[in-house]
């Protein structure tokens, strides 16, 4: 069980994590989702006692990490950045950690076999590929057979086989009753592994709910309408209370309506229809919508450029009814209005950024 209370980290004037409140419970995989720079790594580092919170606290089974008597027995962590001396062999690296906590030597062999590094265990870790480095990090995390495991962006650098392996590993660990907390900036990855979701954007917790609930709330769909008489059709659709978003290419996205209802309206009004398609937006889009106002690094050139720190009012508390609004009128946040000049704004196109 990990519990964060008003957890805050400030670097100078910049707030990396802002009064984060969340609980990570045992027996399931909890996904920690947020765009790059949202504060995921900083939060994880504070959980692990690597960074000191500016204010607030976070505890492991009720105890701050730096007060744990047997840290590796309680928590295992794979961090985003490398945490290995490149001149030391994988085996010796694990030996050092095992000895620091008095873990039996057999445990080192066990985790080396578990992650499949047996053949390179005596090689210097500096020569490891990204994927091998991740596996070594996972071996270190599992060394103490901990009840809580934390993985920061674990699929980074892994090949498809490795990704599948780590997904299964996380699920297996959770099935054994452990607390599994895994961060990612990929909603699609989370959808496949996580049972519970904590969403963070610009340091604020935007959502903390079961995955199923998140999906139910956010599987927004709309009807793509194409008509040569769109200028006449759109107002008629809007009159029915449906939200109509004009697209640059003369089509429109209509929310809250079924294709058949739109077809009926067009028929009644004797307007031509060229296309009527039901489109389900992906979870990735739902995530982008949710964090649209809290993406720190936008790619330049789009309508929503510029930092959006002040673009949207943050939810006053994590469980404020921002979700209801989002579900009710769809795009509640800034890029809501159709851009008459062209493409809809694409706020989440920031480039990768190491943390």
């Amino acid at each position: 069980m990990i519990q964060a209370t008003a957890l805050t980290k400030r670097y100078g004037t910049k707030v990396a994590v802002d009064h984060a409140e969340f609980t990570v419970a045992p027996g399931k995989v909890t996904g920690f989702l947020g765009p790059n720079g949202a504060g995921k790594s900083t939060t994880m580092r504070m959980i692990l006692g690597l960074d000191r919170p500016t204010s607030g606290s976070v505890t492991i089974n009720g105890i701050p990490y730096d007060k744990l008597a047997a840290p590796l027995r309680e928590v295992g962590a794979l961090l985003d950045a490398k945490a290995v001396h490149g001149g030391r062999s994988a085996y010796n690296h694990l030996q050092v950690l095992a000895k620091a906590n008095g873990l039996p030597r057999a445990r080192v062999d066990t985790v080396i076999d578990l992650v499949g590094l047996h053949s390179v265990a005596k090689k210097r870790a500096g020569g490891f590929s990204l994927g091998m480095g991740q596996r070594l990090g996972i071996a270190a995390a599992l060394l103490g057979d901990p009840g809580i495991v934390m993985f920061d962006e674990p699929v980074n650098g892994l090949d498809p086989e490795g990704i599948l392996w780590i997904r299964n590993l996380m699920k297996a660990l959770a099935a054994e009753g452990r607390t599994v907390f895994v961060s990612s900036h990929l909603m699609s990855e989370m959808a496949l592994t996580a049972d519970h979701l904590v969403v963070i954007g610009l340091g604020r917790i935007l959502a903390d709910e079961p995955m199923a609930e998140f999906i139910a709330k956010n599987s927004v769909s709309y009807v793509l309408v194409r008509s040569p008489q769109m200028a006449d059709l759109a107002p008629k659709l809007a009159l029915r209370g449906w939200r109509v978003e004009m697209q640059g290419d003369g089509s429109a996205h209509v929310y809250d309506a079924k294709p058949s209802q739109i077809g009926d309206v067009a028929g009644t009004e004797q307007l031509w229809l060229h296309e009527l398609t039901l489109v389900h937006s992906s979870l990735e889009e739902a995530f982008m919508r949710l964090t649209a106002s809290s993406v720190e690094y936008h790619a330049g050139g789009t309508a929503g450029t510029g930092t959006t720190q002040d673009a949207a009012k943050p939810p006053s508390s994590p469980d404020a009814p921002v979700w209801g609004e989002a579900a009710g009128d769809g795009r509640a946040q800034p890029p809501a209005e159709p851009d008459p000049s062209g493409q809809p704004p694409t706020p989440y196109q920031n480039s990768e950024r190491g943390q």
């Binding site: 906590n101 008095g102 039996p104």
Partner: protein, 281 residues
């Protein structure tokens, strides 16, 4: 590396085998394992182990070779402090191996990212720093003493044809023992600099500048201030134990000097420990 459908994590074999507590004794073992398992330790120590005795042979050899042609002034210098003649050049060069290793022991934790693993395994950071200090200082001290005595005996043998150097005479024993003590303290001092600066290149530059440049240049400061700065500069103070003749600008006795060196090291250690806890790892 086949993808497995299900993964089982064995629970620890023999539950009595590990409470998993990160207590001091275990941290000592871990730090010792760290030292043994990287090459930089061996390379740095080889510098001391080879260079120190080599120059303790070469300098006496050259002096003995030219003894009959040497002017009385040079001879008197050698006779006044033969141990310093034997170990002086060797330790001047050999100390850099210890200093560089000292810096690396701590700063490489930061440059490689190892510090995160270290602090995860021992979140009580001061305890970790203490364990590292004990292990590394003891290693440097033991190697320093062994090498100092070996170097002395090599020099003693080489000098045999022209003069007899008795270990028991005058301050000779103190100087030889002091050489090892100096290296031990320098090891800890450098390690602490590495902990404070955290960047290997920066910290090594700092220590080398202190040993080579600053320690000498401050004696150019005129007046009493210059004497005090020169005498209380940590490495100058510490090196007083290596000789029986100090410059008239040096205000301390040999053991006073060593105590000043130890005091500086202790002060910086406390500062490093405080910063270690305060700063993000």
């Amino acid at each position: 590396m086949a993808a497995t459908e299900s993964v089982t994590i064995n629970t620890l074999p023999g539950n009595g085998a590990g409470s998993g507590h990160a207590h001091f004794g275990r941290l000592l073992v871990a730090e010792w394992t760290k030292l043994r398992s990287v090459r930089s330790t061996y390379w740095s120590l080889i510098t001391v182990v080879l260079a120190f005795p080599f120059f303790s042979w070469l300098i006496p050899f050259l002096i003995a070779h030219n003894w009959n042609q040497a002017d009385p002034g040079s001879r008197a210098q050698v006779l006044q402090d033969p141990v310093s003649t034997i170990i002086g050049v060797g330790i001047d060069l050999g100390q850099f191996g210890i200093a560089v290793l000292g810096v690396l022991v701590m700063a490489s934790e930061y440059s490689t990212g190892m510090i995160r693993s270290t602090v995860l395994a021992s979140p009580r950071r001061v305890r970790m720093l203490a364990a590292k200090s004990v292990v590394f200082t003891l290693l440097a001290l033991v190697i320093g003493e062994i090498v100092s005595f070996v170097a002395f005996f090599i020099g003693q043998l080489t000098f045999k044809s022209v003069l007899t150097v008795n270990l028991g005479a005058g301050t000779n024993l103190r100087e030889v023992v002091g050489a090892g003590l100096y290296l031990g303290m320098l090891a800890l001092f450098s390690m602490v600099i590495g902990a404070l600066i955290r960047h290997p290149a920066g910290a090594i530059t700092g220590v080398v500048l202190l040993l080579l440049v600053i320690s000498n240049i401050i004696q150019l400061i005129p007046g009493a201030a210059g004497k005090y700065l020169y005498s209380y500069e940590p490495t100058n103070a510490g090196a007083a134990i290596l000789t029986n003749h100090t410059s008239d600008k040096f205000l301390l006795t040999a053991w006073e000097g060593y105590a000043v060196f130890a005091g500086w090291t202790a002060l910086l250690w406390v500062l490093a420990a405080w910063l270690l806890v305060r700063r993000d790892a």
